[in-house]
């Protein structure tokens, strides 16, 4: 009998830790313009190579090169950059608001702005996104969602459209094609497929777009979604935002080592792309390709967006405890805002001055919105929705047991108010 050495458990580690800069050579990169653009009618099997390459349009000099260069007008590109700046300004202000204890919690999308905003540009009115908590760009890219209203959600105040029931950032905007965000990860991925199936059942032309992070691709719902999407050829885009980290867990802990998340689609028979998520043009081009396939009944597309979570997971997280503090500056795909800016400046349709002025403008807009939102109070100063809202919407019609519990809760609140010293009622 052969003598075997003892078995050893492999536990993946990131290449960088605090004090040791990351070695990003683990990321397979393709040069801009190098990856082919298959016809929309491609069979998934004929597109397998795209799950291992990296679709990129913008090169290091800000030029748009190769087969994926999208047809976007200068005006669309300028609006896209402005939306990214608006998102960044919003995130920066809300982060400060949390530090000032004006909101209880926040999650920014710093470094990932291009993905949601360019994707939103590729969708049509009536399409439905099933986002995670880091796709606020889908909303902030729109003109019809007032920032004040988003902020009232963050403050859980009396103007919060969600009646103070959800953690900050868990928005819901059916009218903007933005499904209610769940804190339970991955659940929305299969729901997106179900929505797309419904659109096909009804003979509609709308499509769904499901979102998930690299970390939660390990959940069963991810694999279920791929199976259902393939089985029913659902008109859905399955987006995996690989920002390298799930809180402190490096993407290898979710199964990204020596393979790609896009490659998950191959075994399921789904056309799968791996795309530079910090390249606004590549994001738009890949999104438009996938959306067009879905709308032409050609089936689902899985897209892995390679990016980097530049900030903390949330305001409750401190990434310097588990990864190098300045990794983002070394991330080989750079900053999506800087890259689109470079492209527009190279085209001669943008300038440093215009860039700075635009950022100041959106900062002022965000600040004004926040001043207005604060006039409606917040969870931290007691300007919260009335007690009855706790019991409403559990069912369509309030059952007897909840009416009774609501009565008891109101009594409890009245007794507490009566017992409070005078002048201390607010």
């Amino acid at each position: 009998m052969a003598a075997y050495p003892p078995l050893r458990l492999h536990v993946p580690e990131p290449s960088g830790r605090p004090g040791h800069p990351s070695d990003f050579s683990y990321l397979h990169l393709s040069p801009a313009g190098a990856v082919r653009r298959p016809p929309l009618e491609t069979t998934p099997a004929e597109a397998n190579d795209l799950a291992f390459g990296l679709v990129r349009v913008l090169d290091d000099h800000g030029r748009a090169v190769g087969p994926w260069v999208p047809e976007l007008t200068t005006e669309q590109l300028r609006r896209g950059l402005r939306a990214m700046l608006r998102t960044r300004a919003y995130d920066a202000r809300m982060l400060i608001a949390q530090r000032q204890k004006k909101i209880s919690f926040y999650m920014q999308c710093l470094g990932e702005e291009a993905i949601a905003i360019a994707h939103a540009l590729a969708l049509a009115p009536g399409d439905m996104c099933f986002p995670t908590y880091r796709q606020q760009g889908l909303l902030i890219a729109r003109d019809d969602i007032p920032l004040v209203e988003l902020m009232c959600q963050l403050m859980s105040n009396a103007r919060d459209p969600l009646k103070g029931r959800q953690l900050p950032v868990m928005y819901s905007y059916k009218r903007a094609g933005f499904f209610s965000i769940s804190g339970n990860l991955a659940t929305q991925f299969i729901q997106a497929v179900g929505w797309a199936m419904a659109s096909a059942i009804k003979g509609d032309t709308k499509i769904a777009s499901g979102w998930i992070g690299d970390g939660s691709t390990a959940e069963a719902d991810f694999h279920t979604a791929l199976t259902f999407a393939h089985v029913y050829r659902a008109p859905v885009i399955l987006n995996v935002v690989n920002n390298q980290y799930a809180i402190s867990s490096f993407q290898a802990i979710a199964g990204g080592e020596a393979t790609t998340f896009a490659a998950r689609g191959i075994g399921c028979g789904i056309a799968s792309l791996r795309v530079d998520g910090n390249d606004f043009l590549a994001v738009y081009a890949a999104s438009a390709w996938a959306a067009e396939r879905a709308r032409r009944n050609l089936g689902p597309t899985l897209i892995e967006w390679v990016t980097y979570r530049a900030g903390a997971h949330s305001t409750s997280d401190d990434p310097t405890r588990y990864r190098p503090a300045d990794d983002w500056t070394r991330f080989p795909l750079g900053d999506p805002v800087a890259r689109l800016k470079q492209h527009l400046v190279a085209l001669g349709v943008w300038s440093n001055e215009e860039h700075d002025a635009t950022y100041k403008e959106v900062e002022a807009e965000v600040s004004a919105a926040f001043r207005e939102a604060q006039t409606h109070g917040s969870i931290l100063d007691g300007h919260i929705p009335p007690l009855a809202t706790m019991f409403e919407d559990v069912y369509e019609h309030m059952p007897a047991h909840l009416k009774e519990q609501m009565r008891q809760a109101a009594e409890e609140q009245q007794r507490a108010a009566a017992a409070a010293p005078q002048g201390a009622t607010s």
């Binding site: 439905m128 819901s172 659940t187 299969i190 419904a198 199976t227 919407d393 559990v394 007897a400």
Partner: protein, 337 residues
């Protein structure tokens, strides 16, 4: 009116709703061409087409998760989990998503879905085809949990469930599919055709989702039961001669508390019967509600008759099953107290 088994009544309910509402779709494992392992959807795909009635992958989480997405689009999905014992992979989608979607989105999105599940034992199904998990659902706010005991109620409750804008867990006591089984497994099977509740209207009607039924009026003791245990309790009353008032809850949660309270205040005694395991079973909730609402009317301790706190065994099925003898013993005990 037509004489129907519970299977035919359930099929009729789905047939009626597929015909009335283009937004109703039905899917689950084996429910399409084959018509389901219990035949509840037989013929529906042929009648309404593959886009309305179809097979699903073996993925309960996927079946329910996709239904939530379809409901968000505007459909009214009716999905089948082949056995209630198999719902566990769908727990997150049921508990965290369907049940709370209206609440968390403040009504922006809702989950008008119906999840059908055959439940209960008495068919030699062993520990993976016999469970009664109703208490796992009644503990979840936002769900409605329903269990019919007759063909008439099965059709009326299922139509009401499909039309309801809340998510409904629709538990089907599979031992009652083909007849009103009273627990006497050693006796010949009694078909539904001999029972008045097998007379079922062919068209649309509903049974409200919050009303219990007094299936046997009585003066001595109130028996609270649902599903198969309704017929077991009726048999126990007859065999012991105790004048029991047997209440079929039909809607387990939210439930018809006034019907329960009125009865127990009248009889002064209460026996609660369910097939599920005892500890933290729904009987515990019923017992607490009766105690809170009827304490000064009680003349005897409340009794619970349930399955034992073990997995549902295969060989010892009838030693596990709370049959008429076990219920009868409880009836005698509360009368002697």
């Amino acid at each position: 009116m037509t004489t129907m088994t519970m299977i035919q009544a359930l099929r009729s309910a789905m047939d009626v709703m597929l015909g009335r509402d283009d937004d109703v779709v039905i899917y689950g494992e084996d429910v399409g061409y084959f018509g389901g392992v219990f035949r509840c959807t037989e013929g529906l795909q042929a009648k309404y087409g593959r886009h309305r009635v179809f097979d699903a992958p073996i993925s309960e989480g996927g079946i329910v998760g996709a239904a939530i997405g379809m409901a968000a689009y505007g459909l009214r999905p009716v999905v089948e989990v082949q056995f209630a014992d198999y719902f566990y992979p769908a727990s997150d989608q049921i508990v965290s998503e369907a049940a709370r979607l209206r609440y968390r989105s403040a009504g922006d999105f809702t989950s008008p879905i119906t999840i059908r599940m055959p439940c209960g034992g008495g068919i030699y199904g062993g520990q993976t085809h016999s469970q009664s998990p109703e208490a796992l659902f009644t503990h979840v706010c936002g769900l409605r949990t329903v269990m019919p005991s007759t063909p008439y109620d099965a059709k009326g409750l299922l139509i009401a469930a499909i039309e309801c804008d809340d998510p409904v867990i629709f538990l089907e006591p599979k031992r009652l599919y083909n007849g009103p089984f009273d627990g006497h497994h050693e006796r010949p099977v009694v078909p539904w055709s001999a029972h008045p509740a097998s007379e079922v209207p062919e068209g649309h009607y509903t049974v409200p989702l919050d009303s219990a039924a007094i299936v046997r009026p009585g003066r001595d003791v109130t028996v609270l039961a649902y599903g198969t245990m309704v017929f077991v309790s009726l048999a126990a009353a007859q065999e012991t001669g105790v004048d029991a008032e047997v209440i079929d809850l039909r809607s387990i949660w939210p439930l018809d508390l006034p019907a329960i309270v009125n009865s127990v205040r009248k009889t002064g005694r209460c026996v609660i019967v369910h097939e599920a395991t005892r500890t933290s079973g729904f009987g515990a909730e019923l017992s607490a509600l009766v105690q809170e609402n009827c304490f000064y009317h009680l003349e005897a301790p409340i009794e619970r008759v349930t399955g034992w706190d073990t997995p549902y065994p295969h060989a010892l099925e009838w030693a596990y099953f709370p049959g008429p003898a076990r219920v009868g013993d409880a009836l005698r005990r509360v009368m002697e107290a």
